[in-house]
């Protein structure tokens, strides 16, 4: 279980302090898939990066299974079982997909075990295992490999920052199946997905709406989703949300 207590985060912008998150308190219980949604610029990705330790909150505390991890490093949090899939995956010259999966697993897993993670994200493993994680891979391929690295970690809390970003519609259905699959193996762990996609909201146990740095709504999918459909916090394939155009 992860608890966020009164998390605030501010940055210096043009000599004035800009608050990205304001007093966010949130509990992510075990065995649940939580989706955080809301307009762009609402602080969703910042929240995810704060949980992973990439950003440090201005104030507030973070507890993982009761232990205060606010001052722990990214590495320590990873070792404690927090996995993080980047919105924009990082490329590495020379490091191969198999290397990355082995680093993620924390041991020298066999090529066939690594292939299972790749198959789980819909990649034909044989074609990818020896590929370099560099710019020869498309955005969608990188994104799936990124998700596979989080699968390989067997985390107690897996965070996915906009997994749908950069993935084509054709692959998107496959992605939903991936998360459905992870969800089935959720025992004693939890999943946090940052997403705008209605299809991902539909598989959530709980939905958190983050707007202008504050929790605007938090409840079960059945309670929150109806409030969002057709609004600016969630959209399906055919809807064009007004706030996207206003970025």
């Amino acid at each position: 279980m992860l608890e966020l207590k009164n998390i605030s985060f501010a940055v210096d912008a043009e000599s004035a302090e800009k608050e990205i998150l304001h007093n966010v308190s949130l509990t992510i219980p075990d065995n649940k898939l939580i989706v955080v949604t809301g307009p762009n610029g609402g602080g969703k990705s910042t929240l995810a990066r704060i949980i992973a330790g990439i950003e440090t909150p201005t104030s507030g505390r973070i507890l993982l299974n009761g232990e205060d991890i606010t001052d722990k490093s990214i590495t320590d949090r990873a070792k404690m079982g927090i996995g993080f899939a980047f919105q924009q995956p990082v490329r590495f010259k020379g490091i191969q997909v198999l290397d990355l999966l082995r680093l993620a697993a924390g041991k020298r897993i066999s090529a066939s075990s690594a292939c299972e993670y790749l198959s789980a994200v819909g990649l034909c493993a044989r074609d990818y295992i020896g590929r370099e994680v560099n710019s020869s891979l498309s955005g969608g391929e990188l994104k799936r490999i990124e998700i596979a690295t989080v699968l390989a970690r067997s985390s107690v809390l897996s965070i996915f920052d906009e997994p749908e970003a950069g993935i084509d519609l054709w692959s998107f259905q496959n992605l939903i199946e991936v998360f459905d699959g992870i969800r089935k193996d959720i025992q004693n762990s939890s999943i946090l997905i940052i997403s705008h996609q209605e299809r991902i909201l539909e598989i959530a146990d709980e939905i958190v709406v983050l707007r202008e740095g504050s929790v605007a709504a938090h409840g079960s999918r059945d309670d929150v989703l109806p409030l969002l459909i057709g609004t600016d916090a969630a959209f399906g394939c055919r809807k064009i949300p007004a706030w996207r155009g206003a970025e």
């Binding site: 490093s73 590495t75 990082v90 590495f92 020379g94 490091i95």
Partner: protein, 308 residues
């Protein structure tokens, strides 16, 4: 064969992956003497009489054979200049493994300057691997100055892998190549310098024949107070294609000067160069830290991958 001591054996492993006497043709040079030599039915190794070095004749059509000519030096203050000439017959397909390891525990500089010339016959194909390595904690420098000249006949193919990862204090690498029609040259260079080391690597590749091509990729890491200069010039004298890429990571107070150059003397010469120098991207380190690595471990993995 002369008995090699433990340091010499370790150097052989570093530069040529040799744990025992290699199969096929070989010459092992240790402290300026031949510690063992073997020719085969198709590959003849003959010592030169006028200067120090070897003539290596590979018969036309020789296939799937290898030549190992590693050099090890453990005697401080030793300086040598060696000429090795390779005559590769038409249609041959062979692997050549060179490389030099210097262990200098003394106070005098040790230096090996090896000039390798390759005369590659029509349709012949060679893979050349050269690794340089230095060790020993003496104040004397470990100096390696390899000169490589490649003359490629029509439709021949040369792949060169040149690696210098550790321990060489000073190096000036000079490589020139001349390619006839349809010939192909691929070079992969990996270089890491540390402490106060200095490395200069220069390439001049002339694409003289129609349809010839060259692809030179150098990946380099300069750490501590080391300095590297990379110069690659590709000259297109015919309808040809050439590409050079210098990709460097700098760390600490490392310095890198990249000077790519292209010269097109034919309207159908297609030449491209790329050069990039920068520190390790912060996002790369963060990504590996989210996989449980410390910052130092993350850096090591990134460098290892980059220099693979």
């Amino acid at each position: 064969m002369i008995q090699l001591d433990e340091i010499q054996k370790r150097l052989l492993v570093e530069v040529a992956d040799l744990h025992k006497v290699p199969e096929g043709a070989y010459n092992i040079r240790s402290n300026s003497q031949s510690a063992g030599r073997q020719s085969t039915a198709n590959i003849e190794i003959v010592p030169k009489t006028d200067v120090s070095g070897l003539d290596i004749h590979i018969k036309p059509g020789t296939r799937n054979e290898s030549v190992h000519i590693p050099v090890v030096m453990t005697q401080t203050g030793l300086k040598e200049l060696v000429y090795n000439d390779f005559y590769i017959g038409d249609d041959a397909d062979v692997t050549i493994v060179a490389g030099c390891g210097i262990d200098n525990c003394g106070n005098q500089d040790s230096e090996h300057d090896g000039i390798h010339r390759f005369y590659v016959g029509k349709n012949a194909k060679i893979r050349y691997v050269e690794k340089h390595y230095g060790s020993g904690d003496g104040a004397g420098k470990r100096i390696l100055n390899p000169g490589t000249e490649v003359y490629q006949d029509e439709n021949s193919s040369v792949e060169m892998e040149m690696v210098q990862i550790k321990g060489v204090d000073d190096t000036v690498r000079s490589t020139t190549a001349e390619l006839a029609a349809g010939a192909r040259l691929v070079i992969r260079e990996r270089l890491m310098t540390h402490d106060n080391q200095r490395a200069v690597s220069t390439y001049v590749v002339s694409l003289n024949g129609e349809g010839s091509s060259a692809d030179i990729v150098s990946r380099a890491v300069a750490r501590d107070d080391s300095f590297q200069r990379f110069e690659a010039k590709i000259i297109g004298n015919a309808a040809c294609s050439g590409h050079s890429e210098c990709d460097s990571i700098i760390m600490d107070n490392g310095k890198v000067l990249a000077v790519p150059a292209l010269e097109a003397n034919n309207v159908d010469a297609a030449l491209v160069h790329e050069a990039a120098i920068g520190k390790i991207a912060g996002e790369q380190i963060i990504k590996l830290m989210t996989l449980g690595l410390t910052e130092a471990e993350a850096e090591e993995q990134i460098i290892n991958g980059f220099l693979r």
